[in-house]
């Protein structure tokens, strides 16, 4: 989230897409309801915030919404595109914000184009774009003058772009954008999404009001947007709309992802991700020999003289401080701070690649820690074949999972499965301390409440112990390049049993010479004199105390929330630097006054000459902070432009979001039938070992005529709750939700057993005939959607008590092995099935 849970109460309009907070995040949903019940909020003269829920299924979130729009799954780019078009055509955008706080005025290269569903630079053989034309027109003279006057530290040279502040030049981002979105008429939006035109217009009118400076809208989403081959662009199109309306950086605004696991945010930040290093730095690529090479190819370049480009400018400092944290004394100036020790992937190594490699016999071992690959999928049958093709599998979990038990699942022959399986019982969250970071970036420390049950061990003790045993073997026996293993710092009281408090200090970072912990990432250096395990957490544990433990909450609401905006700055700590709303310089106008005085993020105090309110996403004082100074920075300090990107060369499938159909769709793309799907979708085109080629596994509408989507229920969380009897009692059996009209056609009644098939697998579950789902008219055709909750498998209380032992209960047996071009996230939320009564 750019904002945080409690902040949603500050919104006038709440747009919810690809999410069902009332059921999936029920306690967070109280802040939506607070906004709705607050007479000061809302469009027009107020009377309470309005909620618009666009979802294929009418849920409890819809029942609290002012408008429920039944949208076909995976078509939110068209929905947002229609809203963008409406805002542009009717001049409802926030003019001052768009002109000064976005890249609307930047000039794009002359060769850029979009035609018949393809952006310029498409290479159909490689299925890739050459993005050379998706770039700004460089102002070479200004760039060289600027670079001469400002010798770059760490290779961060400027690449200044030409701008037209009148927004009239046909090559401005603004004009190109108007042209791109002109195709997204209400009629086209309706053909693609199934939302009736008149209803769409009512939504557009409400959204259009949110471009007024005294109004603010939030967009809330979850995996209903990310789990698509167009997931990256689904989210980007929401962000583009928010920039047009001037809602990024403001309390009550922003793009807010509801995350689904207690610490999915924290361990994304700490980069358990193949393409990242902690703090969202890129993993180095082969061919980068020095840190300078790495920074030159990874860090953003300044595109405007007044862009701070904070991340790009300091990339080297963050990287060197990380290398010092990881490799300690072995990281020296002479050896490029052990830059060679960081492994450099040669190809995509994301989730699906693990199983692809296993099927091809390239993957020998897999460690799963609190994550069950077999249930998660996609294409669970493929994943189970992949596990059977490993030499060894480690499952670290407090409870049995479908992965730990895959070799003896119903129907499997254990004798034929040669994988060695290590089940390592780990401790629960409540048996250890440490921090969880929530969706709103609040890092909350928890205590150890009880000791480990039985012989369960902490995950980090298992990993530390394993590491030390591997290290000992290299010391005794030698082996391939042991140097990094010998160098990794293990400066803990007990190297096989580190304390989470010790690790929290390492993450925060130190001044090497004084041994004191640092209070801010602004203090990090690129000469090896500082360490930081994750620069965005520097300041969480400064020299005084662990700020993540702070507990000044609503027990004293007046004292603990001094601005009254719900920031509660002394409750826990939020990254970065305890800032509660990111990009908050954009919450104030050019002179530093909040766009809406009743809902300030930060404000320039002309007497004190400093920013007050939230922790500013900006320098707090001085000439680069003072809005009246000609040298003050542009508002968005993290990117090269210094302003928000309506057009981005950072996406691999287009600088503007474009609607593409899911890989399995009942219709051809009404915008460009010749290019129906995303042309650079993340797809394994080759064979995939024993399980066959992925491209053979897609189904067609003649055989699989119904759209299916997956989701969660309130009473379960993924798969672990299959072991909680009270919750299994509340939601005991898997089911498929079927719209009444389709059920009638098929002669299916609630409670009947139904087989649902995709071209990859099947589930056999109970039918739940419902009004919550209903047919939509898509491009003139009646289309049905069915829905499956994801929670069941062959392990747990329910499976044990069922005659089938949960043999065909894994919803992800149906889902396709294909993902987004940018994020490689699989398309769990839109695929084709058929169904029959058993």
């Amino acid at each position: 989230m750019t904002n945080h849970w409690r902040d949603i109460k500050n919104a006038d309009l709440i747009l919810i897409n690809g999410a069902n907070p009332a059921e999936a995040h029920p306690v967070g949903f109280q802040w939506f309801v607070k906004a709705k019940l607050d007479p000061k909020r809302g469009p027009g003269s107020g009377g309470g915030a309005k909620i618009i829920h666009a979802d294929p299924r009418f849920t409890r979130t819809s029942s609290m919404a002012d408008i429920y729009a039944r949208i076909r799954t995976g078509t939110d780019v068209a929905y947002f595109g229609g809203l963008i078009n409406y805002v542009l055509q009717n001049n409802l955008f926030h003019d001052e914000y768009v002109r000064n706080y976005t890249n609307a005025s930047f000039l794009v290269k002359d060769g850029y184009s979009f035609k018949d569903g393809l952006f310029s630079g498409y290479d159909s053989t490689a299925r890739k774009y050459n993005i050379a034309t998706w770039a700004y027109q460089a102002d070479d003279a200004a760039s060289s003058a600027f670079n001469d006057a400002h010798p770059a530290a760490g290779g961060a040279v400027a690449l200044l772009a030409k701008r037209d502040m009148t927004l009239q030049d046909p090559l401005t981002v603004f004009q190109l954008m108007k042209q791109h979105y002109s195709r997204y008429t209400p009629e086209m939006v309706s053909r693609i999404t199934g939302i009736p035109q008149d209803q769409f217009m009512r939504i557009a009118q409400l959204v259009g009001e949110m471009g007024r400076p005294d109004k603010v809208m939030t967009i809330v989403y979850a995996v209903g947007l990310t789990h698509h081959t167009t997931g990256f662009q689904l989210i980007r199109s929401g962000a583009v709309l928010q920039l047009l309306l001037g809602n990024m950086g403001r309390p009550g605004g922003g793009m807010n992802a509801e995350r689904g696991h207690a610490n999915i945010q924290g361990n994304t930040d700490h980069a358990i991700s193949w393409e990242l290093l902690p703090g969202y730095m890129k993993i180095p690529a082969p061919g980068q020999k020095t840190i300078a090479d790495y920074v030159a190819q990874s860090a953003s370049k300044k595109n405007d003289p007044r862009s701070w480009n904070f991340f790009g400018t300091n990339y080297r400092k963050f990287m060197v401080s990380l290398l010092k944290a990881w490799y300690g004394d072995a990281a020296t100036k002479a050896n490029e701070f052990a830059f060679d020790f960081i492994p450099k992937p040669g190809k995509n190594s994301s989730w699906m690649s693990i199983f692809d490699q296993a099927l091809k016999g390239q993957m020998q071992g897999l460690i799963l820690s609190g994550m069950t690959a077999t249930s998660i999928g996609p294409d669970s049958n493929r994943v189970m074949d992949a596990l059977a093709n490993l030499k060894w599998l480690v499952v670290m979990d407090p409870l049995p999972t479908t992965s730990s038990e895959f070799w003896r699942r119903p129907g499997a022959d254990p004798k034929s499965i040669q994988t060695e399986v290590f089940m390592m019982p780990t401790t629960h969250w409540i048996e250890k301390d440490g921090s969880f970071t929530n969706s709103g970036r609040w890092v909350q420390w928890k205590d150890q409440v009880i000791p480990p049950q039985g012989n369960a061990r902490h995950d980090h003790w298992i990993l530390a112990d394993l590491f030390n045993r591997v290290k000992t073997r290299y010391q005794q026996q030698g082996g391939k390049f042991p140097d990094p293993i010998m160098a990794v710092t293990m400066k803990y009281g007990n190297p096989t049993q580190p304390l989470l408090d010790e690790i929290a200090q390492e993450i925060n970072g130190f001044d090497v010479s004084t041994g004191k912990r640092l209070a801010s990432f602004a203090l990090l250096k690129d000469d090896g004199t500082t360490t930081s395990g994750d620069w965005i957490y520097t300041g969480s544990y400064p020299d005084g105390s662990n700020l993540m433990k702070r507990r000044q909450g609503v027990q004293y609401p007046v004292a603990n929330d001094p601005t009254g905006m719900g920031f509660f700055p002394n409750w826990a700590w939020s990254w970065p630097l305890n800032r509660r709303v990111m990009y908050n310089r954009a919450s104030a106008d050019l002179t530093g006054k909040p766009w809406d005085a009743t809902r300030p993020g930060i404000a320039w105090d002309v007497v004190q000459k400093k920013w007050v309110g939230d922790v500013p996403d900006y320098p707090a004082t001085g000439p680069t902070a003072d809005p009246n100074s000609s040298t003050s920075w542009l508002p968005f300090i993290m990117n090269g432009e210094g302003v928000g990107r309506l057009f981005s060369s950072g996406a691999l499938d287009g600088p503007f979001p474009e609607h593409y159909e899911p890989m399995e769709s009942p219709v051809k793309n009404p915008l460009h039938p010749s290019q129906s799907e995303d042309p650079v979708v993340f797809l394994y085109t080759g064979g995939s070992g024993s399980h066959g080629a992925v491209k053979q596994t897609f189904g067609t509408p003649d055989q699989f005529p119904y759209i299916a989507t997956t989701y969660r229920l309130t009473e379960h969380e993924h798969y672990v709750t299959q072991h909680v009897p009270l919750l299994a009692g509340l939601q005991p059996k898997p089911f498929v939700e079927i719209p009444e009209k389709l059920a009638a056609q098929k002669g299916i009644q609630s409670g009947d057993r139904v087989r649902v098939r995709s071209n990859r697998g099947k589930v056999e579950v109970l039918a739940l005939v419902t009004k919550r789902l209903a047919p939509s008219m898509i491009d003139g055709q009646e289309v049905f959607t069915v829905g499956l909750p994801i929670h069941w498998g062959f392990v747990g209380v329910s499976a044990e008590s069922d005659p089938s032992k949960g043999a065909n209960w894994i919803a992800n047996a149906l889902t396709p092995f294909v993902g987004d071009a940018n994020a490689y996230t699989p398309e769990f939320k839109a695929f084709l099935v058929n169904l029959e009564k058993m």
Partner: protein, 194 residues
């Protein structure tokens, strides 16, 4: 004037007797509930935790009592009224967190399944970690690439993958990243992808 905290207010409310609290049954239900609650958590120690399920980040208060052998057991988990995130509220999952925390369904010892075997075998941590360290080193040595075809130094272990971390503490996740990268892994993934 001293501020009355939300928690104090709840206590006053619950302890307040008088005619207004009397029900048709002739006794004060609120007081009865409070008395029952007091027995339940009498002498309990209060510690702070965070809900293990979704990422709203609801704060929990856990009440524990000491066992005869000196260890502690949980007697109750409830929402923390001081939290600006949940203000004491919990959903059905958070409210039943105790059944996840302590469960007869837990795996309490390391279990090993040999290739082709149809059963688990209980082994010690020492045996398990030794066996795995050997497998890990063998796979690393077998699949380690120091230089790629173009001659670039890449120092990567291609044949081992690590995935996980949405359920454990951030500090554990950071250590996992550091150690796995240190061992050369490039296949490092987490629930955020899926």
């Amino acid at each position: 004037m001293p501020q009355v905290t939300r928690r104090d207010f709840l206590k006053i409310g619950a302890a307040g007797t008088g005619a207004a609290g009397l029900t048709a049954l002739g006794f004060d239900m609120a007081q009865a509930a409070q008395v029952q609650q007091s027995f339940h958590i009498a002498g309990a120690q209060e510690t702070h935790s965070v809900c293990p399920y979704c990422a709203v980040g609801c704060s929990l208060v856990a009440f524990t009592q000491q066992n005869a052998n000196g260890t502690r057991r949980i007697v109750q988990i409830e929402g923390d009224p001081d939290s600006p995130v949940n203000e004491g509220r919990l959903c059905p999952k958070g409210a039943t967190a105790m059944q996840l925390a302590t469960s007869a369904r837990r795996v309490e010892n390391p279990m090993y399944r040999a290739p082709g075997s149809d059963h688990w075998q209980q082994i010690s941590w020492d045996q398990m970690l030794d066996k795995l360290a050997t497998r890990f080193k063998d796979s690393r040595d077998a699949t380690f690439v120091a230089k790629d075809a173009a001659g670039n130094t890449v120092n990567r272990t291609e044949g081992i993958a690590f995935a996980g971390g949405a359920a454990f503490s951030s500090e554990e996740g950071y250590l996992a990243t550091k150690l796995m990268r240190g061992l050369g892994l490039v296949h490092l993934e987490q629930q955020a992808r899926v």
